[in-house]
């Protein structure tokens, strides 16, 4: 059971992430009026927001340190926030600014913060093998660091995931695969693409641990993750931890969700992990004033990040040619005309 202090921290991360996504949604859609044009506005390109996924990241990352590695998928913001990624520079990156985490080169699906060993990427299950590699490095160096790969329930049908499981299992590596099950992979409901409704069951075939948290509950995630991360840290091998979460928005901004029954959208809204945790906190004697104060603090932090981002300069066009190599070769590389 998390301490009340920990519960407060988890709550603050979750409301920060929820607020962040709401504000990014507003910023994204502004400038895409009256007709939605994906390349217009202050944040162009695809944007995958994670409202409804917060409990998983907050519950898991509570057990992680800066030195532990996290890889995240195309829906990364809540995980980045819980891992302690610099929110100002992350936001600047999403706004395509020069002082962003990747100088505007990466964008929202390709955020890298080596200070806290966080990275995310846009191809399905792409982060699994690198997480296994980080775990391999930790083991070779005899540290007690762990690696956590986050991915969606749709992503666990990808070959790279299965190969990672086997490799992690046979080498007994300190890695946890956290599967965020929001029931949907864009327009495809889980039952259309797999007969295995409990993704953690896939651990059995790889002789590793698997556990599913069946409710969207940060406390339950915290407890399951304590065991999974603890097991990894103690040298006792990998785990699949699947968490039921909910997609409270479209797959990406602009997704009208014509394929999704209204009841499903409503159900996702009803099962609010943030509200659930607030109720838990009240039971622990945290009163509404304090909850409000936490929410205000979270909002202020989000606002500051967005303001920071908007004040930052855009990169110069010429910067497009930089950073391809760590050691830029002396000869022509084709970047020049």
């Amino acid at each position: 059971m998390p301490s009340v202090t920990e519960l407060r921290e988890i709550y603050e991360e979750m409301v920060t992430a929820r607020r962040y996504e709401k504000r990014l949604q507003e910023e994204y859609l502004e400038g895409k009026q009256p007709a939605f044009d994906i390349s217009a506005g202050p944040i162009p390109g695809e944007l995958h927001l994670a409202a409804g996924h917060e409990a998983s990241a907050a519950g898991v990352c509570q057990h992680l340190r800066d030195a532990d590695t996290v890889t995240a998928p195309h829906r990364p913001h809540h995980i980045a926030i819980s891992k302690g990624v610099d929110l100002n520079r992350m936001t600047a990156e999403i706004f395509g600014r020069r002082t962003g985490l990747s100088k505007g080169k990466g964008g929202h699906m390709h955020l890298f913060d080596p200070d806290v060993n966080f990275a995310c990427s846009g191809i399905i299950a792409q982060g699994c093998p690198p997480a296994v590699g980080a775990a391999m490095a930790a083991k070779k160096r005899n540290t007690d660091e762990v690696a956590v790969a986050f991915l969606g329930e749709g992503a666990i049908d990808q070959g790279g995931f299965f190969e990672s499981l086997n490799l992690a299992s046979v080498r007994n590596l300190p890695v946890v695969f956290v599967v965020e099950d929001n029931d949907w992979a864009i327009s495809m409901p889980k039952e259309r693409v797999t007969d295995v409704s409990n993704g953690a069951q896939r651990a059995e075939g790889h002789d590793m641990h698997g556990v599913r948290v069946d409710r969207d509950d940060a406390v339950a995630v915290y407890e399951a993750a304590a065991e999974a991360v603890g097991r990894a840290r103690d040298g006792n091998g990998p785990t699949i931890l699947e968490v039921q979460v909910h997609r409270r928005m479209g797959h990406f901004m602009g997704d009208a969700e014509g394929y999704r029954p209204d009841e499903d959208v409503e159900a996702a809204e009803m099962r609010d992990s943030v509200e659930r945790l607030a109720a838990d906190l009240r039971k622990h004697g945290v009163d509404d004033d304090e909850l409000t104060a936490i929410r205000d603090r979270a909002s202020a932090r989000v606002e500051e990040a967005i303001e920071f981002a908007k004040e930052q300069p855009e990169p110069d066009p010429e910067e497009a040619y930089e950073d391809v190599f760590t050691n830029p070769p002396a000869g022509a590389t084709g970047g020049e005309d």
Partner: protein, 342 residues
């Protein structure tokens, strides 16, 4: 089948490129039970880029199949079904995702015909979305034309407008070889990604085919030849219009297919103009621009007076707007390259 011999019936009906593609698929599915579609989000969603819009309603889930996010599995399954005599149309949502499934694409789909001494054929269409211009960054913006065209055994089709897309799609489905059908997102006519003027064209209602290996001279000119494909056909046309005011008469060639390549049309034009500009949204080195220039050098060297390439520099595609605009060849870049040949 309502095949019209010769020129298709003139029509005023205009379609977006996605509607034209779907019309061809639908007609082939109606005519042949062996044709089916599979891919991620091809059923209820109708394809993220509308490439299968309406097919579920028309043909049902058995023939328009959503599949797990397992590209190696379902693209390889397409190869197997094709070898078993069916005619699968398999969608790889973005060409960028080929990485997780390339073995099935280039070691099986592309090579089985040859490796079997033609005792096996793979009549499959791999449709895939390509291209940038909307800030989707390094993993969702590539065209990879050169990569697919480089590897022997696949026909590679890149339509630039609705009329061509329909005729090329009919041909692709009927072809007994694997065809990679690369459609540019910006040309599809999506409500959320406005297309330039040009890709929406009149499209005959009847079936018609456009043979592979026939480039289209979009604009005749005597001063310079611009060879290009996909989105950049439209950018080249705009550049050519602009150059008219400067007294430069530009010929614009739309390759339409990379494999087979209609080198003859390119050579003929180069023999006339003596000046060659190749424009590509793929990376500059070891790709389409180099190939076209090499063909011209091999077979029309004496006529060549100047050569320019306009392509993506060899950098991963950056996210931020000023950076992507810098690397993706624009109308001005093309016009400048044509001027530079003078």
């Amino acid at each position: 089948m309502s095949e019209t011999p010769g020129e298709p019936v003139a029509t005023e009906r205009e379609l977006t490129m996605s509607r034209a593609m779907v019309e061809a698929i639908s007609s082939e599915m109606a005519a042949d039970e062996e044709v089916f579609v599979m891919g991620e989000d091809v059923a209820d969603y109708g394809g993220i880029f509308d490439s299968t819009q309406g097919l579920l309603e028309e043909f049902g889930r058995d023939r328009v199949m959503d599949v797990p996010i397992s590209e190696t599995g379902f693209i390889g399954a397409g190869v197997g079904a094709a070898q078993a005599g069916m005619r699968p149309i398999v969608e790889l949502m973005f060409a960028d995702f080929f990485g997780v499934a390339m073995d099935q694409i280039y070691n099986n789909m592309a090579k089985n015909t040859y490796m079997s001494g033609r005792s096996v054929s793979v009549p499959m269409v791999l449709t895939t979305a390509v291209g940038g211009t909307y800030n989707d960054a390094a993993q969702h913006s590539q065209t990879l034309y050169g990569t697919f065209a480089h590897l022997p055994g696949m026909k590679v089709v890149v339509p630039s407008n609705a009329y061509d897309a329909k005729g090329l799609m009919h041909n692709a489905i009927r072809d007994d070889d694997p065809v990679v059908f690369m459609f540019h997102k910006r040309l599809m006519g999506l409500g959320w990604m406005p297309a330039p003027e040009g890709p929406k064209t009149p499209v005959p209602e009847d079936d018609y085919t456009i043979p592979f290996g026939e480039a289209d001279v979009k604009r005749e000119g005597t001063d310079a030849t611009v060879v290009t494909l996909g989105l950049h056909v439209h950018r080249a046309m705009e550049a050519a219009d602009e150059l008219v005011d400067e007294g430069i008469d530009t010929e614009v060639i739309d390759l339409r297919t990379l494999v087979p390549l209609d080198a003859e049309t390119v050579l003929e034009s180069v023999r006339k103009t003596g000046r060659l500009v190749v424009v590509d949204e793929d990376y500059r080195s070891y790709g389409v621009t180099g190939e076209i220039v090499a063909r011209a050098a091999e077979d029309a060297l004496a006529d060549l007076e100047a050569v320019e390439r306009v392509a993506m520099p060899d950098v991963p595609i950056p996210y931020a707007r000023p950076l992507e605009e810098e690397v993706n060849p624009g109308v001005e870049d093309i016009a400048a390259a044509v001027r530079a040949t003078r």
